[in-house]
C-alpha cells in the first residue's frame, strides 16, 4: 500500500492556519464552513432529539398524562420541523459534502466560496427565526403545515416558523448550486466523470433535487404565510381556494426532499463499502446512474402522499406505478453494494459497521415503502404508525447511519485525530439495537391501526409504545456516546496520519487535516475510482461473465 502514501505533512493546516473567532466567522474555506455547519446541525439535532424524547415519554402510557395535548402537538411538530429542515436536509451535504466535494475532485475550494459562507449564514438566520417561533409559543400544525388548519385554525407561530423554513430553503439552494457548478467545472486534470467517486455522483443528484425542489416549497410556505396574515384564500375553501393544492405543492418538494436526505447517505455507503472491502464497486455506472434516476423519478411520485386525500383514483394509479418504478434504482444499489463485498477484504471498522447497518435497515425501509406505494394497503396504513416507522427506517436507519458512518470515516481527515475505535463500534451496535427496538414495533402498531400524531391512544397499543420508548432510551445513549468521544478525540485522540485507512481516494492523498488549499500541488488523476489493484488483474467471476471486463 506504499503507493498511496501522502506527501510529508506540513505543520500548517486549515485549522491552525488562522486563529480567532473572526477567522472562522468570515472564512471562505469550504472545510471551515463544513465545520460551522457541523456544529450548528449537531445543535439542532439535539434540540430535535429532546423533542423526540418528550414524544416517547408521553406515549409510554395511553392516557396522555405527561403533556397537555396542545403541548404534545407542538412537540411532535417541532421535532419534525427541526429534524427535517435543520438537521436531515443539510446533514451530509452541508458538512461532509462541503468538506469533501472539492477534495475528492481535486479542487482547491467550491466554485463560489462566498456563496458557500452566505449559505451558512442564511441557514443560521432561518434557524434562529424558527427557534424564536419555538420559544415564543411554538407551532402545532405538524411539519406538513396542512391547510386550512395551518392558515386559518391554528393559533400558533406558523408565520414565524414558515419564514424560518423559507429562508433556510435558500441555504439549501445555494449549496446545491455550488456543488453542481463545482462538479462541472472544477475537476482536477484527469478526473473524468466516470472516475468520480460515487459520493460525488450522489451529491450531484442531490443538488439537482435541491435546486429544482426547494424553490417550490419556498413559494408554498410563503403563500401559507400570506394567507394567514391577509386572509386571501388561495388554500381556503371558504373563499374558493383548494386545500389539496397545498398538499400537491408541499409534497412536490417534500417527497424529493426525502431523496435529499437519503442520496448523500447512499453516496457515503458506496464509499464505505468499496473502501472497507478494498474492492472496486460492483457495477459502478449502475450505481452512479441509479442516483440520477432516483433524483429524476423522485419528482414524479409526490401524489402517493395523497391516495386518501380525495385525488382521483386514476391519478392514484399513475402515482402508484411511478412509485414502484423508483424502487428499482434503489434495489439496484442494494444489490450492487452486496455484490461489491464478494471476494473483498472486509474490515469491521466503525464506519463499515454503520454501512452494513445502513444496507440492512434500508432494505427494510425500502421494502416497507412498497407497502405504501401499494394502493390497497396504503389506504389502511397511511397516517398510522406504520408510516412513522417506515420513514424513520429511511431517515434514521438510512440518512443518520450514513451520516455517522461518514463522520467516523472522514473524522481523521477532518480533525487530524483518530476516534476511539472500541467506543465507536460499541455505540454503532447500540444505535443499531436501539433503533430497531424503537421503530420495529411501530410497524405492528401501525397495521393494528394506531394513528400517528395521537397524544392519547387506546390501551391495546401500549405494549408497542413501551417497547418503542425503551428503544428510544437506548438510541439516545447511542447518540450521546459519539458526541462525547468525537469532541474528546479532537484534543486527546491519537494523531491521524494522512491516510489512516490506506485508501486510494484523492482526499487521502494529502495531509490530515488538509492545508487550506487542500493539496500542495494540483493533483493529476491517472487512476479509476476505487482502484486498489491494477485493472489488468480484474477477475471475471461466475456464470455471469461479460465478454470484456466492465470499463469504468
Amino acid at each position: 500500500m506504499e503507493e498511496f502514501t501522502p506527501p510529508v505533512p506540513s505543520k500548517i493546516n486549515y485549522i491552525n492556519a488562522q486563529y480567532g473567532l473572526k477567522s472562522w466567522l468570515l472564512t471562505k474555506d469550504h472545510k471551515r464552513i463544513a465545520l460551522l455547519y457541523l456544529g450548528s446541525i449537531t445543535f439542532f439535532f439535539f434540540i430535535g432529539g429532546i423533542y423526540a424524547m418528550l414524544i416517547r415519554l408521553e406515549l409510554l402510557t395511553p392516557q396522555g398524562d405527561l403533556l397537555q395535548s396542545t403541548t404534545y402537538n407542538k412537540v411532535f411538530t417541532q421535532h419534525g420541523i427541526i429534524m427535517v429542515f435543520f438537521f436531515l436536509i443539510p446533514s451530509i451535504p452541508a458538512t461532509l459534502g462541503n468538506f469533501l466535494v472539492p477534495m475528492m475532485i481535486g479542487a482547491k475550494d467550491l466554485a463560489f466560496p462566498r456563496i458557500n459562507l452566505l449559505s451558512w449564514y442564511i441557514y443560521m438566520l432561518g434557524g434562529l427565526i424558527t427557534i424564536y417561533a419555538l420559544l415564543a409559543g411554538g407551532v402545532d400544525t405538524g411539519w406538513t403545515f396542512y391547510t386550512p388548519f395551518s392558515t386559518t385554525f391554528s393559533n400558533s407561530y406558523v408565520v414565524a416558523a414558515g419564514l424560518g423554513i423559507f429562508i433556510n430553503g435558500f441555504s439549501s439552494i445555494l449549496t446545491g448550486l455550488n456543488f453542481i457548478v463545482t462538479i462541472h467545472t472544477m475537476r482536477a486534470p484527469g478526473m473524468t466523470w466516470f472516475r468520480l467517486p460515487l459520493f460525488i455522483w450522489s451529491h450531484y443528484a442531490t443538488s439537482l433535487v435541491m435546486i429544482l425542489g426547494t424553490p417550490v416549497i419556498a413559494i408554498t410556505v410563503l403563500l401559507v404565510a400570506f394567507e394567514r396574515v391577509a386572509h386571501i384564500g388561495i388554500f381556503d375553501p371558504a373563499v374558493g381556494g383548494d386545500p389539496v393544492l397545498f398538499q400537491h405543492l408541499f409534497w412536490f418538494y417534500s417527497h424529493p426532499a426525502v431523496y435529499i436526505m437519503i442520496l448523500p447517505s447512499m453516496g457515503v455507503v458506496s464509499e464505505l463499502i468499496a473502501n472497507f472491502s478494498r474492492k472496486n464497486i460492483f457495477g459502478y455506472s449502475f450505481v452512479a446512474f441509479s442516483s440520477l434516476a432516483i433524483a429524476v423519478f423522485g419528482f414524479l411520485v409526490w401524489g402517493h402522499h395523497l391516495f386518501v386525500s380525495g385525488q382521483s383514483i386514476y391519478a392514484g394509479m399513475i402515482f402508484s406505478f411511478l412509485s414502484f418504478a423508483v424502487a428499482v434504482p434503489s434495489a439496484i444499489k442494494v444489490f450492487n453494494w452486496t455484490a461489491t463485498l464478494y471476494k473483498g477484504s472486509i474490515s469491521f471498522d466503525t464506519p463499515m459497521l454503520y454501512a452494513l447497518g445502513f444496507i440492512g435497515l434500508f432494505t427494510i425501509g425500502g421494502m416497507t415503502g412498497l407497502f405504501l406505494a401499494t394502493l390497497g394497503v396504503d389506504v389502511h396504513v397511511t397516517d398510522t404508525y406504520f408510516i412513522v416507522a417506515h420513514f424513520h427506517y429511511i431517515m434514521v436507519g438510512g440518512a443518520i447511519f450514513g451520516y455517522l458512518g461518514g463522520l467516523h470515516y472522514w473524522w481523521p481527515k477532518i480533525s487530524g485525530r483518530m476516534y476511539p475505535d472500541g467506543w465507536g463500534r460499541f455505540s454503532a451496535l447500540l444505535i443499531f439495537a436501539g433503533f430497531n427496538l424503537t421503530f420495529f414495533p411501530q410497524f405492528v402498531a401501525g397495521y393494528l391501526g394506531m394513528p400517528r400524531r395521537y397524544h392519547a391512544y387506546p390501551p391495546e397499543f401500549q405494549v408497542f409504545n413501551v417497547l418503542s420508548t425503551a428503544g428510544a432510551s437506548i438510541l439516545a445513549v447511542g447518540y450521546l456516546i459519539p458526541a462525547i468521544y468525537l469532541v474528546w478525540s479532537m484534543r486527546y485522540g491519537k494523531v491521524a496520519p494522512g491516510n489512516p485507512w490506506n485508501l486510494p481516494g484523492l482526499e487521502w492523498r494529502t495531509q490530515s487535516p488538509p492545508p487550506t488549499e487542500n493539496f500542495d500541488y494540483t493533483p493529476v488523476v491517472t487512476w479509476e475510482a476505487y482502484e486498489f489493484a491494477p485493472p489488468e488483474e480484474t477477475e471475471v467471476v461466475g456464470r455471469f461473465r461479460d465478454e470484456v471486463p466492465e470499463k469504468v
Binding site: 462566498r114 456563496i115 445555494l174 462541472h184 472544477m186 425542489g213 424553490p215 400570506f226 386572509h231 383548494d242
Partner: protein, 238 residues
Amino acid sequence: MAESYVEHEVGHPALQHHFANLEQQREAGTLGMWVFLVTEIMFFGGMFLAYTLYRSKYPEAFAIASNHLDIKLGAINTAVLIFSSFTMAMAVYSTQIGKRRAQIISLVATIILGLAFLGIKAVEYYQKYEDHLIPGSLIPGNPFNPDPHAMHLTQGVLMQHVQMFYWIYFAMTGMHALHMIIGVGLLSFLLYFSVKGRYSPEYHNPVEVIGLYWHFVDIVWIFLFPLLYLLGRHTGGH
C-alpha cells in the same frame, strides 16, 4: 444570491485563488447563473400552477378581473422591457468588443428603462389601491372591497374569486417587480465598476451573467403579460 455572486466577482478583478484560469472562472460563473435561473423558473412555477388551476376553476371571475387591468400600461411596460433587453444585449456586446463608452451608455439606458417599468408598475398598483383591489387585508385599512358595478360583475360571479385573481396578480407581478429591483441594483454595481474601467474583452463575465439574469426577468414578464392581461379578455361577462 445573485447580489453576493456579483459582489464576489467584483471584489476580485483578476483570477480568484481557487480557479485554475480565467476560462474556468468564466465557465463557473456562467453555469452558476444558469443553474440559478433554473431555480427561479421553479420558484415562479408554483405560482403559474396556482394561476392555471384557479383560472380553469373560475374562468368568468378571472375574465372579469382581468378586464379591469390597465392593458395600455401593461403593453407599454412590455415594450419598455423588450427594449431594455436590447440595451442590455448592447452592453454585453460593447464590453466584449471593448467599447467602454457604448457600454456605459447601454447600462445607463437599461437602468432607466428598468426604473421606467417600475414607475409604470407603481402607477398601476396605485390605481388598484384606489379601487380597493388589494386582496385580503394586505394593506391595513384598505381591505379588498371593489365596487361591483365598476367591475362589471355579473350576477353569480363571486367577488372572492375575483380576489383570487388579484392575489395571483399581485403575487406574480410583485415577485417580478422584486426581481426587477434587484436587477436595477445589480446594474448599478455594473455601472459603477464599468465607469472605473473594470471590464475588458478579457474579463467581462459579470456583465454577461447579469445580462442573463436581466433577460430572464424580461422573459418572465413576457409570460405574465398575456396570462394576466390578455387571456380571456373578451370572453368576460355576459
